[in-house]
């Protein structure tokens, strides 16, 4: 019999700490965390539990209703988490905490909390994993019991005393319910032999998925996909229960069911952003501003230009007085600031005469010797009255 270990994600009333329980050796930063995050997505788009709409205190769920949430089924064969224990299957539900507990569901600011309750294990056969129908029918009770177990002792505890608890393997609640007899999972002997119709991303051995794509399905495909996931041996992450696929977190999802998808299709998997290189402040210029290749090319061309110019350079005019300072007037446009620089571009350009350069340059720098602002950043002088704030 497969033992399953609870995975519980959610904060308490007082402590803004989210990993409530993890199996021993499982990292809160590994694939399990990524998969849980894909289902929880910061609570975005979670459905409000129908049993507790506006009828305060009403705890009974309408007959036949299922727990409103996003269901996760994921398998890793090389998880890479600590102690090499993460290989296996993770499944569970992301939902509003109110769906699992009528007492423990808001924080100190009365904000409704959301959570994930699931189980991690290494099932030997597909029937070790409950069917989708069984899970959704019973999840309120199964997950509710786990939620109660891991939250009730710390719910209003001081944050300094709230830490991630190490969860222990236990007999799965669906196994305790005598799953075959209760019809929660089908027995291997009674498994239907009917071959299901072909489906995008599903092969004879279950899921076929590529790392660079995510398969999107209509919500109605959830049960079929869940069952394919139960027998799939390759890594995958299936999340069901989204209303709007555009809101979904696609990393590390391989299969996703959403109400706004009408035909199975694929979308590219999200690219993981690489951290930017360190900022080179305080130059003010960011790395992307620099163009090293262009700079090198520019320098090279500048050098070539110099050689060519030195070869072509005319002899000085005989009547030119060395060191004479001349004004810019009457010397044409070549001497204007900004026209002869081209630093960095390396484009060689014609300098009509050395005299023009000299004369315009002399006045250019001296004429603009205005007092510079202070180097330290300063805001302008205030003209408003800080005792007004009339518009508050």
């Amino acid at each position: 019999m497969t033992m399953w270990t609870p995975v519980v994600y959610g904060r308490t009333h007082r402590a803004d700490r989210w990993w409530r329980a993890l199996p021993a050796g499982i990292s809160p930063n590994g694939w399990i965390a990524d998969a849980v995050n894909a289902a929880v997505a910061g609570g975005r788009g979670l459905r409000w539990p129908e049993a507790v709409s506006e009828a305060a205190g009403e705890t009974s769920r309408p007959e036949g209703s299922r727990l409103e949430g996003r269901y996760l089924l994921a398998r890793r064969v090389n998880g890479g988490d600590g102690m090499n224990r993460a290989n296996g299957v993770l499944m569970g539900v992301a939902c509003y905490a109110r769906a699992l507990s009528q007492e423990m569901h808001t924080d100190e600011a009365s904000r409704e909390l959301y959570c994930f309750v699931g189980w991690w294990g290494t099932p030997q056969t597909p029937s070790d994993i409950p069917s989708f129908a069984a899970l959704t029918e019973n999840c309120e009770r199964w997950a509710g019991d786990v939620y109660q177990t891991y939250f009730e002792q710390v719910w209003k505890e001081h944050p300094a005393r709230v830490h991630t608890q190490e969860s222990v393997p236990e007999t799965a609640p669906w196994a305790q319910d005598d799953p075959v007899a209760d019809g929660l999972v089908e027995s291997p002997a009674s498994a239907p032999e009917v071959t299901p119709p072909p489906l995008l991303g599903v092969g004879p051995a279950g899921f076929t998925s590529r790392k660079d794509e995510v398969l999107l399905y209509p919500a109605s495909h959830a049960e079929r996909l869940w069952d394919e996931g139960r027998r799939t041996k390759v890594p995958f992450t299936l999340v069901t229960g989204w209303d709007a696929s555009a809101q979904a977190l696609l990393r590390p999802v391989t299969h996703l069911c959403a109400a706004d998808i009408h035909e199975p299709r694929t979308v590219p998997a999200p690219v993981i952003a690489q951290p930017p290189p360190p900022s080179p402040k305080p130059g003010g210029r960011k790395p992307e501003d620099k163009k090293p290749d262009a700079d090198l090319l520019g320098q090279f061309l500048t050098e070539v230009g110099k050689v060519i110019r030195s070869l072509r350079s005319p002899a000085p005019e005989k009547n030119q007085k060395p060191g004479r300072s001349q004004g810019p007037a009457g010397h044409g446009s070549e001497g204007r600031p900004g026209r002869t620089g081209d630093l960095g571009t390396g484009k060689s350009r014609h300098v009509s005469s050395q005299g023009k350069e000299e004369s315009s340059g002399q006045n250019f720098f001296s004429s603009q010797k205005k007092a510079s602002p202070p180097v330290k950043a300063k805001f302008p002088e205030k003209t408003g009255d800080v005792n007004e704030l009339d518009d508050l």
Binding site: R11, A15, D16, R17, W18, W19, S27, P28, N29, N37, V40, G42, G43, R44, D107, A109, S110, R111, E112, Q247, S279, P282, G284, K286, K306, R309, P322, G323, S325, P337, G338, R339, T340, G341, D342, L343, V351, Q354, E358, G361, Q362, F364, F365, Q368, S372, P373, P374, A377, F379, P380, E381, K382, T383, G384, D385, V386, N387, E388, D391, L392
Partner: protein
Amino acid sequence: MGVSKITVTMLGPSHSGKTTFMYGMYATLSAGIEGYFLNAKDPDKDLDLMDNWDLLCDEGQLPPPTADVPISYEFVFKHGVRSLVDIDWMDFRGGATVERAGAPESLSDVVKLRERLKESDSIYLVLDGRYVGEWIKDGAPATVTRGPMKVSHLSNHISRTVEERINAGLPAPSLVVLITKIDVLAEITGMPKKDAIFRAMDNLQNLVPIAFSEGVTTLICPVQLGDFGIGDHRKVDPAKLDVRYMHKPIIFSLLYDINCRIARDSRRLEELRARGQATEGELEQLRAGFWNGFFKRSQIAERIDGLGGIRAAVEEVSQELETARTRVDQLWKELNTLRIVEDGKIRENGKSR
């Protein structure tokens, strides 16, 4: 003027109003103020933000608590359609500031927040108006070493960040002390709202001494989402929505960045002019004497070449400075009546006190 990027990080305890502030800021500025706009670069993020804002406006639905996976936003601040600065924003849960980052199994958002602080050009310290009200009611005492505002802990983060950046030769980050939920102040303190705000601002040095430190420039900015008052706020009454001042902190961050660039460019301009004058002097020396113009023509050409480059750079930097100063003039009036503290001194009507 090139598009630079500023990194903004908010520090504040859980449910102090960080996410709601960001929604309000975005909603206000995406509609535009004085021709300036804030847009999310990713259209999907824009839709996320505006959907959440619409839920708040239509149904009074406040944002849910932020989980331990921070949400990243890339904004661009524009004048008309022209991009002025990119803004790197990340929404962290409040708990990330009070957890340890050194343990091998530390959560990635705790580590990320610490790393990010080092790169932050602007830090917002968020004070929950409910607790500020209690503090005023208690006589606005100094030495608040503990309590729900976590001021001493958050100040420690800021102090370390400022020191690390200065030691690394980087500009100190600008600081915004954000007092959220000011609509509750009157009810808690028993004073008129405005009096309570001024009582808080007048005594803020007791509560947040780091904001009055040498080398730190701070904006003190009270903000509110609406006139909801104290009480159970699972939802708020959309009819009482009355957003105030939520756009001002980011304008301050932008102006601080522009001012840093003005200072940098001014220094660069001085250096360029000094280089230009030196090069002119060298040119004069090289041309001294009857034959130098011929025998030293290669060196002379080199100096002339250099002068042209310097002139172009002076033109470019001067133009950037002029544009930057125009931006400051345009945006400054948004902050004109708010308190700005420079090196511990409050700037008031052109003077410090």
